[in-house]
């Protein structure tokens, strides 16, 4: 199963505080372990929310809100995508991660939806429409 592993933001990450050399090294070692275990698919760090924007939807209206955003603990500072056997394995790997922040921090694991989870919701017609849109985009680019 594929999971997204999200490093939650802290005051430090939101302030744009860069990790120390030791933290970089420890994280590099951990990443190497992930690669050697064959579970790492992707991963990266995100800039503080002061660089971000939000688009709020309400009916037909779209409102753009500039960062930074207040609810620090709910923000994401970085992520990985892993391929693991089950959630228990993902949990064990996260436990091995060095603390990604200088202070207390949190990492959240969320499994991806898989095709089978959608069941009847994605009809062949919906898929075909997706494909048509894609074709049009590809056509327009040429």
């Amino acid at each position: 199963m594929r999971v997204m592993v999200m490093v939650k933001a802290t005051k430090d990450s939101e302030a744009g505080l860069m990790p120390t050399t030791e933290m970089f090294e420890a994280m590099g070692k951990f990443n190497e372990e992930l690669v050697k275990a064959g579970i790492m698919l992707n991963g990266d760090g995100l800039k503080p929310s002061s660089h971000g924007k939000r688009i709020a939807f309400d009916g037909a209206s779209r409102t753009v809100i500039d960062g930074p955003f207040a609810e620090t603990r709910e923000l994401v500072a970085g992520f990985w995508i892993w391929e693991v056997k089950d959630m228990a394995e993902a949990v064990e790997w996260v436990k091995r991660c060095p603390n990604p922040m200088p202070g207390p921090s949190e990492i959240e694991i969320r499994p991806f939806y898989e095709m089978a989870d959608f069941g009847e919701a994605v009809t062949p017609e919906i898929e075909e429409r997706f494909q048509r849109l894609r074709d049009e985009v590809a056509g327009a680019k040429r």
Partner: protein, 420 residues
Amino acid sequence: MAASETHQAIEAVFRIERARLIAGLARLMRDVDRAEELAQDALVTALAEWPRSGVPQNPGAWLMTAAKRRAIDGFRRDKMLARKHAELGRDLEDAQDDGARRIEAAMDDDVGDELLGLIFTACHPVLSREARAALTLRLIGGLQTDEIARAFLSSEATIAQRIVRAKRTIADAGLAFEVPRGAERDARLASVLEVIYLIFNEGYAATAGDDLIRPALCAEAQRLGRILTGLMPDDSEVFGLLALMEIQASRLNARTAGDGSLVPLPEQNRARWDQLLIHRGLAALTRAQALGGGRGPYALQAALAACHARARRAEDTDWKMIAALYDALREVMPSPVVDLNRAIAHSMAFGPEAGLALVEEIANASALRHYAPVPAAKGDFLFRAGRRAEAKIEFERAATLSRNAPEKAFLLKRAAACEG
């Protein structure tokens, strides 16, 4: 934490550590069977102790120490037994002392990266391809015998026997569980890559009605490929194989229709291709090429797969590039099937006459005389060249040779269309 949750956590830790544990133990004991037993014993010890003490800081090292202690106890017990019965000579006692001493000396060693040595041993050419695949899945993939049997559509007894024999062969050959060096390394690496790709293809060949463990073989092979790139970051063909598998696997969702039938590549819904896997595959291919291995057989096949992956629509496919890649592939991996694909690629790139000229050469080769795809391809070229009557004959011939009912029906439909 509930007891079952703790149990589950321990199982997960063990799954993460198992292959490395067995690798280290096999190297010490020079006995893969005993290594597996000791690893299992270590799990049993952990299941008894960790619920009370908690999972240790470094669970891998903890499990290794527990297993080594068991190994030493085993040597001592054997020695006592030998003394009691007094029927074994001093040689054996010495050997047992040696074994115990060797492990005592290694008691505090770190759990190193002996995994690569185990992979090379499980894929050793002294073993048959089937045995190599079964042993690799068992030792590195951690699959149970019955799972391997289901995956390979075989009986549990057959697979169990295959594994037992393979282990005996390894013991008899006195393999040291090491990574080979020099010239031997290349040949042995080829054998490792072959086994991983065999596992992948077994999963890729799975059809809708199959046990889910079969398609899961693709994921297992990809994981093995990813592990290998982590352990051998300078070997281009390792990246070539990974690139090939990632790109092929990106199409797994798009490959089957709702009724379980296979959807050919040009008709697949490309919106269902897994873009993350394509991205990873292309990155691995770039790495293989940067390492100077762009002309390796796996890298070339990956480059072919990449041509399709890059095309957003079937008609955007770069057939000239594909034709050139097949020209190169037949140099390093000559096979009639490659030649046939090359003819098809040339027909797409340069017109049906170009395809006809090439397929003529193959049709005369004996290996493919009764191979339906040859007349099918020839029929397609003739049809596109406007030579309908000749095309019809080829499609009918292909239908006669085909043993697959839907394929046969498809070919007859094409034959009938020649009359229009």
